[in-house]
């Protein structure tokens, strides 16, 4: 029998429908794979084996009756940021110790309504703050990829490092993830997986632990473009419980995958050509442009002049919102409490013990930029920059560009505990240089594996789309996927 964990989500779904195997069999296969890998990869924070088998049995019963939703019986991993009833939900943090929500996030509820099976909760950077999955209270996640002839453990990227690692290492058929500045696309790029951050407002944020409310969006990480399209179709949808969710019909994204790019106008932004960018990234980008041209797309050089201000502005807006969003973790209502003599002391001790360094750093930055006398100079100005970035995109789209092709990251995965990154947080922040603009503008962006670096590590290209035009990204993403070939499976070493 074939290894059920090696199937794509689409193939798993088809196999279940054809009754080639049962959901319990697939689920058990994944649970076995997790058990085998997790001590090395640390992708899962909690494994819900019993619940998974129960859900799988229920799916099998529905499948046997010829019923079932679009993800019936498909085992998924869920990022720890999503509230799941009665199961581990700590946003990768110590401060939510013991917290078990009595509610289910809208996105996961949508997945379960379509028949998906939850394997467990996936590791992540604490409160989704990080680009290497090293800030998790539950320890770093390890990338299943290693450099050629190397036994050095690499980061899977972040903050959805657990999602990316688990999907790449065949520990689940697909995973939910979230993206505030690149947290879906960068780990997808580092692990040879596909990740899409949909348009802001496409997926409900209700029940997702907030990092930066105006930037956070949920999306899938999967092994193929088609899988992402299938998963996103289920995750997305209007939710009146989230005032920022948009009341728009969700298309069948999978139907757009094979559409091709013939006649599409693909923009190539000159500002994404960074000084000191590795040759391999430039080559990869040129390769992507060629593939698009070969498939009949029109290539247009475009300018997004405010790109260079995106990262600094992002590191004002996101921490500002985070400093306020994380104020609720005070030891009063749930999670960790470190008692003190006074209420202020309790706050201080609880938050000092409960938050890691990166979270503290961002809470402090956020508090600073919002404080009296600095608000106008930082927050207000950053919001203005944000408007300009948005206008840059609006202008090129108005000029007829259908999608924009850029590199996804400035490099391949780096080693865990990288000294340079650890010493200089800004170096770490630079990982998001190509992805943050998309969040600042609220646009959809997809990362698709496109090639490998000299060490054999995966590299990805990013496609940026018009608001609510994820379909074009799936179509164009499929072109890259097809051209790059089916070779984004890590060598199993765990």
């Amino acid at each position: 029998m074939t290894d059920l964990t090696r199937l794509s989500l689409a193939a798993t779904r088809q196999g279940l429908k054809n009754k080639d195997f049962t959901s319990v069999e697939v689920t058990d296969a994944y649970l076995g794979a997790i058990e085998e890998a997790n001590s090395e990869l640390n992708a899962f924070i909690s494994v819900e084996a019993e619940q998974a088998r129960k859900m799988a049995s229920a799916s099998d019963a529905r499948l046997a009756r010829g019923e079932g939703g679009s993800l019936e019986g498909v085992p998924l991993g869920i990022k720890d940021l999503f509230a799941t009833i009665g199961t581990h939900t700590q946003a990768g943090s110590h401060i939510l110790d013991g917290f078990l929500p009595e509610y289910e996030s809208t996105v996961t509820a949508n997945l379960w309504a379509d028949g998906a099976v939850m394997l467990g909760k996936l590791n992540m950077d604490e409160f989704a703050m990080g680009s290497s999955n090293e800030t998790s209270y539950f320890g770093p996640v390890v990338n299943p990829w290693r450099g050629r002839d190397s036994s050095t453990n690499l980061v899977p990227g972040g903050s959805s490092g657990g999602s990316a690692s688990a999907v790449s290492a065949w520990l689940c058929a697909g995973a939910t993830a979230t993206d505030t500045g690149g947290s879906i696309r960068q780990p997808a790029a580092f692990t040879g997986t596909v990740g899409i951050k949909p348009t802001y407002g496409r997926c409900s944020r209700w029940g997702i632990v907030a990092f930066a409310s105006s930037l956070d969006q949920a999306g899938p990480i999967t092994r193929t473009v088609e899988d992402s399209a299938i998963m996103l179709t289920s995750m997305a949808g209007f939710d009146k419980k989230d005032s920022t969710s948009v009341d728009m019909a969700v298309p069948d994204f999978a139907a757009a995958v094979a559409r091709g790019v013939k006649g599409l106008n693909i923009g190539i932004p000159r500002e994404y050509r960074l000084e000191g960018m590795p040759e391999e990234i430039e080559t990869l980008w040129q390769q992507g442009i060629e593939w698009m041209r070969e498939e009949g797309a029109i290539i247009t050089d475009i300018s997004l002049p405010h790109t260079k201000y995106a990262l600094p502005a992002y590191y004002i807006v996101a921490p500002a919102e985070a400093s306020s969003n994380l104020a609720r973790y005070d030891g009063v209502k749930y999670g960790l409490r470190v008692p003190g003599e006074t209420i202020d002391e309790m706050y201080e001790l609880t938050r000092a013990a409960g938050f890691g360094d990166e979270v503290k750093r961002r809470v402090m930055i956020g508090t600073y930029v919002l404080s009296a006398g600095y608000y106008d100079a930082y927050y207000v100005r950053a919001q203005k920059v944000r408007t300009l970035i948005k206008q840059d995109f609006e202008k090129v789209f108005a000029d007829g560009v259908d999608a924009i092709l850029t590199p996804a990251t400035p490099s391949a995965a780096f080693r865990i505990g990288d000294r340079e990154m650890a010493a200089d947080p800004v170096k770490m922040y630079l990982n998001d240089i190509f992805t943050v603009t998309v969040n600042m503008a609220g646009l959809p962006g997809i990362a698709v594996p496109a090639g490998k670096d000299s060490a054999g590590l995966p590299l990805a290209l990013q496609l940026i789309g018009k608001p609510f035009d994820e379909e074009t990204l799936f179509a164009a993403g499929r072109i890259i996927e097809k051209a790059a070939g089916d070779e984004f499976s890590p060598e199993k070493w765990w």
Binding site: Y103, S105, S243, R328, K333, Y375
Partner: protein, 494 residues
């Protein structure tokens, strides 16, 4: 807010000091709980008096991933109130977060409106009596915000308890301009504002339940001089206390200034037991609230049609009602002001006065009915004498069927026993005797029995009153006094 002095100094308000006269300048921030079924951003009930933490949703408790959704009824109530205050309605307003830590503030921030409130400038008119006349107090703004929960400190030796029933309940903060110049005006302002809110049905105005509370800004100056440094007295919850707090605070500041000192801007608390205010925190200790637009909420926007719809159904307000009662029923302005103090009392009056003598009705409603109700501690709504019954009594007077004196007796009977006044009069033989023959008979008897008095009355015609009294006594009060007078004068040759 630029401070503009709209008032001419009034010597009646001057406060004598050792160095001459002083004048106080007062502005109020009234927090009025919006009358609504559910909270401002959650579906929890707003019912008062529930067991602790009974009205708490996941949103109110600030569970991770929970999001606020605006309650449209609260928006309508705020707009109605704005219309009632003749204020500018802002079709676009924003919700901001006011950040601070406190155990009864689960989110770690209050959602409020800082820069762009839902209602702008308006006004409230006060009738300050003959000497001062009508005074207009400007409204600076009205905004919507969340109430906090309640900390309970007396349940445990070293812990505090928190009740979140109020957490998230909608408040309207109504900010006046610094147009108030005396404690009496402040009392009148709160009373008038409360009346308007009650007319509108947008706040129940129950100060003892905390539905209406005031923060009072007080400063003093030489009459007509520059505005002085103000102190803010927090959370005053009765009209009387507001007056006391202002008087005390103005005197305190005058004493400081006359001693050569300086008033320090600070927040103070009023202690009803001592009648004094004491310092809570100084400007230096003031919180930096780090206001910024709440990214979980979209700007609050509505159109002219929305406002027009609410304006259409707005009830007649106290000022208009007072003017109309004066014009329509010919009563005094003062009587009208008493009647319009509440919508039910005005409605009661109108039911009585419609088609009857307006003045006589006003006398009966205000002096007899309201006087009696006040004595018994009853509300108009629970009056044992309803408008039909009181109207019936007045009809009997107007038809000449009973005298005023009998009417008072009749009122007592209806008050304690109920029933139809006309039937009571009929059954108990209380009808006034207007039959000239019967009265003549009594008059003749009295004249015959009192020759001495008859002699005297010729010289002193005012003594006729004594004869009237005797006749009334003999007729058990039923004789028509006018007829008695007329017949007596004829018979006595006056």
């Amino acid at each position: 807010m630029t401070l503009v002095d709209t008032r001419t100094p009034n010597p009646d308000y001057f406060i004598a000091g050792a160095t001459g006269d002083w004048e106080m300048v007062v502005g109020l921030e009234v927090h009025a709980q919006v009358t609504s079924q559910s909270k401002l951003f959650s579906g929890s009930s707003t019912r008062f008096g529930e067991p602790p933490n009974n009205n708490v949703s996941f949103v109110d408790a600030a569970m991770p991933g929970m999001l606020p959704v605006i309650n449209e009824e609260c928006v309508r109530q705020a707009v109605r109130t704005g219309l009632g205050l003749k204020a500018k309605i802002n079709k676009r307003s924003l919700f901001d977060r006011k950040n601070y830590f406190y155990p009864d503030l689960p989110q770690g921030y209050q959602i409020s409106q800082f820069k762009d409130p839902i209602v702008g400038e308006g006004e409230v008119h006060l009738d300050m009596g003959d000497k001062v006349g009508e005074v207009t107090i400007g409204i600076e703004r009205l905004h919507l915000e969340q109430d906090a929960g309640k900390s309970i400190h007396d349940q445990h030796p070293n812990m505090s308890f928190v009740d979140l029933n109020r957490s998230g309940v909608a408040l309207m903060e109504i900010v006046s301009k610094p147009d108030i110049r005396s404690a009496a005006e402040a009392r009148a302002y709160i009373t008038k504002l409360r009346t308007i809110l009650r007319y509108l049905g947008t706040c129940d105005g129950n100060m003892e339940q905390g539905s209406l509370r005031a923060d009072i800004n007080v400063s003093v100056r030489k009459p007509g001089g520059e505005f002085g440094t103000r102190c803010e007295i927090k959370n005053v919850n009765s009209v009387r206390f507001a007056g006391q707090a202002i008087e005390y605070e103005a005197r305190r500041q005058i004493d400081i200034l006359e001693d050569g000192g300086k008033v320090i801007q600070q927040t103070r608390l009023f202690d009803p037991k001592t009648g004094e205010t004491r310092s809570m925190r100084s400007k230096e200790e003031a919180h930096d609230y780090r206001y910024f637009p709440d990214p979980d909420l979209l700007p609050l926007e509505f159109d002219d049609a929305f406002i027009a719809e609410l304006a259409k159904d707005l009830p007649e307000l106290p000022d208009e009602k007072q003017a109309r009662l004066v014009a329509e029923y010919g009563i005094t302005k003062y009587d009208a002001s008493v009647l319009v103090a509440s919508r039910v009392s005005a409605d009661f009056y109108e039911s009585v006065a419609r088609g009857r003598d307006g003045k006589l009705s006003a006398n009966w409603v205000i002096n007899d009915l309201f006087g009696r109700l006040a004595k018994e501690g009853l509300d108009v709504r629970s009056s044992p004498v309803d408008a039909d019954q009181l109207g019936g009594i007045i009809d009997l007077i107007l038809n000449g069927e009973i005298s005023g004196k009998i009417a008072k007796e009749l009122f007592e009977i209806v008050w304690s026993e109920g029933g139809d006044p006309a039937q009571i009069v009929e059954k108990r033989g209380m009808k006034q005797v207007s039959d000239t023959g019967a009265i003549e008979k009594i008059v003749d008897e009295i004249i015959a029995a009192n020759p001495e008095q008859v002699g005297k009355v010729k010289d002193k015609p005012s003594m006729v009153g004594w004869f009237v009294g005797q006749v009334m006594k003999a007729s058990q009060g039923k004789a028509n006094p006018q007829a008695v007078n007329k017949i007596l004068k004829e018979k006595l040759g006056l």
